[in-house]
């Protein structure tokens, strides 16, 4: 059994190559930067050979130091556990590839100090720009970014006090679309379930848009339920309470409509503000009532994770890939010096109808 590498044996530098090729460093540098027209064929050949022999690879750190830009951009992700983030990431990566950037992916894992630590780190590495899917807790921690600092574009969430471009879902349109769908399907009690707002703008926007949209439908009533996903005890408690209220609502309806109404019982619909909320709801209901829970209550969610099809959940699918792609394009313009005032790019969602909201 052979032994893997330990201390690296010092890599070849540009000077080594120059010596090996019997020339100066300048020519090597020229070769590396594709200034081929100014190199005699012989020299060029010697350089090529030397590079090959020494397995030379230019040191990007040194390069970046010298030229003042390193083609690095930071991608600060709040929660990679959320499929939404991964999908956005794929758009980001594609755009970076196309535009010649290298994204440094930083995963805050929903921890505020992680976020702080990462923006700190990204600035000390002199990234040329940052794409931020922020925790949004405080503009404080994002100080070095946006506004007077390095160019930034926000994804999904804007953060108060931070002036920067932003791209995300058209929350108002998406929510209206979903609400309308539920009402048209005959649900007249709509419960909007959302995580604690914290400072997360998209949650607030969706909730506001929900109540706004509801005003168009006098036949339906709505309420907001806040669900804390990160605390198992509190979550279980809230879900139990919710379940009890559901029982009451169903009982009330049955009583009002008479016995024959039981077949038309499920008139309340749960509207999950995002995928994680929907998963928590579905898990709870499923555990409590088995696969039959869908007969008790409807469920619709913003975000369209892979399992939604399996569980037959109606969703609003976000244009995640495009969101990521556009974000990088925005950032690219800023890095190139665009000075326009902060722009918002709101992309439309798409309704995916499934069994969970059928009659």
């Amino acid at each position: 059994m052979s032994t893997p590498t330990a201390g690296a044996p010092r890599r070849a530098t540009i000077s080594d190559v120059a010596r090996e090729a019997g020339t100066g460093k300048t020519s090597i540098s020229r070769y590396l930067n594709g200034e081929l027209s100014v190199l005699s064929p012989q020299l060029r050949a010697r350089i090529e050979a030397a590079i090959e022999r020494l397995d030379y690879q230019p040191n990007q750190m040194a390069r970046g130091l010298k030229r003042g830009r390193n083609r690095l951009i930071g991608m600060l992700v709040a929660d990679l556990t959320n499929p939404y983030s991964v999908e956005v990431l794929q758009g980001v990566e594609a755009a970076c590839h196309a535009l010649g950037y290298m994204p440094l992916i930083c995963h805050a894992a929903n921890e505020v100090d992680m976020e702080r630590r990462f923006v700190q780190l990204l600035t000390t590495y002199r990234v040329e720009g940052v794409i931020v899917n922020a925790l949004g807790v405080s503009e404080e921690t994002l100080r070095p970014v946006g506004g007077g600092g390095i160019p930034a574009v926000l994804v999904d969430r804007s953060v108060e006090g931070l002036v920067a471009d932003m791209v995300g879902l058209d929350n108002e349109g998406a929510t209206a679309l979903a609400t309308r769908h539920l009402v048209e399907r005959g649900f007249d009690q709509l419960w909007f379930v959302v995580q604690p707002f914290a400072h997360i703008s998209s949650r607030r926007q969706r909730e506001a848009a929900f109540h706004q949209a509801l005003r168009q439908y006098p036949q339906a009533s709505g309420r907001t339920v806040v669900l804390e996903l990160d605390d198992a005890d509190e979550l279980a408690q809230t879900l139990s309470a919710l379940d009890a209220e559901l029982d009451a609502a169903i009982a009330a309806r049955e009583q009002r409509d008479g016995a024959l109404a039981s077949s038309a019982a499920p008139r309340v619909a749960l509207f999950a503000a995002n995928g994680p909320v929907a998963l928590a709801l579905a898990r709870h209901l499923n555990q409590r009532h088995g696969a039959n829970w869908q007969k008790r209550v409807a469920l619709l969610s913003i975000d369209d994770p892979e399992w939604a099809e399996l569980a037959g959940i109606t969703t609003i699918r976000q244009p995640t890939y495009d969101i990521g792609y556009r974000a990088v394009e925005f950032l690219h313009e800023r890095i190139d010096g665009a000075q326009a005032s902060a722009r918002d790019c709101l992309l439309p969602g798409e309704l995916i109808e499934r069994a969970s909201t059928a009659r």
Copy 2:
């Protein structure tokens, strides 16, 4: 509306701080590196003030260049879409934090040339080590890593011809555990479903271990089904065929056991080699037969994604967090110069029993 930053206004350097504090760069450097004992209180105060005033932050690129190490390690992930990867990643991040490393996350998205491009990039950035969840297609693309190149540790999969440490699931143990569970539950036809092996060692290992384990149970028979997830048409076709065979198997059993056996019909179990396969199977079966599919056939999967509980799937949960954490620890030892021969670290899986394998 204010306008975001464009071209950065050149950050302060160590020289700027020195001038501002009326001293030399050396003292600033000393201050930054915590050599506080050799600084007079007055100078120290002046430096502190200057740094504050100029909002100075040391340039890590330059630092790394000078000291020859940058505390960067690469984390090459084959597929972030797989929850397994994200979970491993969390262990990696925690360990990096603890050991003072900064992980550069690179997402190959199952593309071979992406993988090649990233190892190239990581070496030119002179990362001190790499954790690789490889596509495994060819040792060729990983040449600069492991063996004679920069220290590397493999995760989940080893790649032929590449000598390096490796940490992952104890595939043999986990598969045996699962097989035994299925047999004990009374299933006597076990179909092991796995993606094309390509060069992915863990798939091969699990399949081999499956047939190996099966030899202990003469009452049960097994076979391997290869499922190509990336080609929708081929996938649909294979799944249909599978479904037909399932019908045949059920019919055969009913005939043999007589009419009364129909209640005890489901004696065939699907053993998914990993989470993505399980999802594909569940989606198909659910779409074809509705929620009742669980009455037709059992399902067990290695990997325990979030939706498994919702769908009631029995799984083998991998110690993902530990896998990531251990990987970084291994790497750390190599970076520090450990010369031992390549080690393997195989961690045990845990059986999570759910409805999908009940009688």
